[in-house]
Symmetry: C2
Subunit: 194 residues, 2 copies
Amino acid sequence: MGRPREFDADDALQTALELFWRKGYEGTSITDLTDSMGITKPSLYGTFGNKEELFRMALQRYEEHYMAFFWSALEQPDARTVAFDILRGFVQAQTEACNPGGCLVVNAASSCSDAALEIHKTIVERIQVGQKALARRFERAKREGDLPADSNPEDLARFILTIAQGTAVQASSGAGRDDVYRLVDIAMKSFPSS
Amino acid sequence: MGRPREFDADDALQTALELFWRKGYEGTSITDLTDSMGITKPSLYGTFGNKEELFRMALQRYEEHYMAFFWSALEQPDARTVAFDILRGFVQAQTEACNPGGCLVVNAASSCSDAALEIHKTIVERIQVGQKALARRFERAKREGDLPADSNPEDLARFILTIAQGTAVQASSGAGRDDVYRLVDIAMKSFPSS
DNA sequence: GACGTTCTATACCGATCGGTATAGAAGCGG
DNA sequence: CCGCTTCTATACCGATCGGTATAGAACGTC
């Protein structure tokens, strides 16, 4: 009942996601958003609440649409394949020509004026969730004899995600995909096997 | 001649540097700056020009005071020591208790509203300068037989700086110094020797 | 076709953004 | 003490920030 909205909320959210991805949370203004989404401010606030809620929805969409590879990589049979798939997945997302460069999470992790403290906390928390999940996967690998008995799963998880975060900065700075792929190959030499 | 200024410009610049370091370029407002520096806006503009010039001066001071280890590391005798010293130096600066977390350059590299495009360009350029210098050092090492003949100096330089950028994100996210030191040790396993 | 509901358009809100005009206070050489 | 210069304090500038009040337009229901 009532007047139907004249825009597709999903399309609009996707547009917002891309803006936040490219310009960060604080670097993206409401006017930027409404202009690109092709809607007016009351429509934005009526549909998405406010800027912070909109960002959180965009973040969730980002994880679902662009970070899905992470959770499927965890299901790979051996630790080395898990690590390699994760790194390749990150690089692919960060350097896709049709995507903004870098990583929405890493870009947002650095923007931290006092007003955006809550956003920053959320971002850090999302990173921790991924890191913990990867560490648990590596613990399992260690139990299964898939990683050496003297290896430290937490350290390895931190290592892999640090590489991913570093490549995000590289991608934001204009590094090419092939450059970063070779970098992943170098990093993987550190990864213990069997 | 004329009335002498009532504050120490160097102290004020240091304060500005720490603010930019912690909150990024756009996350730091003029009011934040004047409050922390203990001076008024006309004094700030009279002494430092404007916000962008102040940031550039802070950036220069940052490189001189906190990134000096980079250039002295380049003078180490072998490539492996160069790489290791650079990584340890970055981690030390990024996790020093009396410093803000992370890296001023990396934090600023991600904040990119339309208004800060020039700052972003400068930041990317500073990263490239360091990366090129390191690549040249590795080229020399290759000529000197210090690195394998089939190694790629540019890729190795990118690898080292990617680790440094990744650890900056980790440090901004609250990782401890020892955690990151162990991470450097893992990364260094990838580094070719002799 | 009137009604209640939901969306849209315009115009506006106080607060803050980076930056500055103006006037007075503090030092110098004469 | 006097200019002259330089810094400081207050008060202000237009623009933009995130967010909203109000009125009208577009639907389904009765």
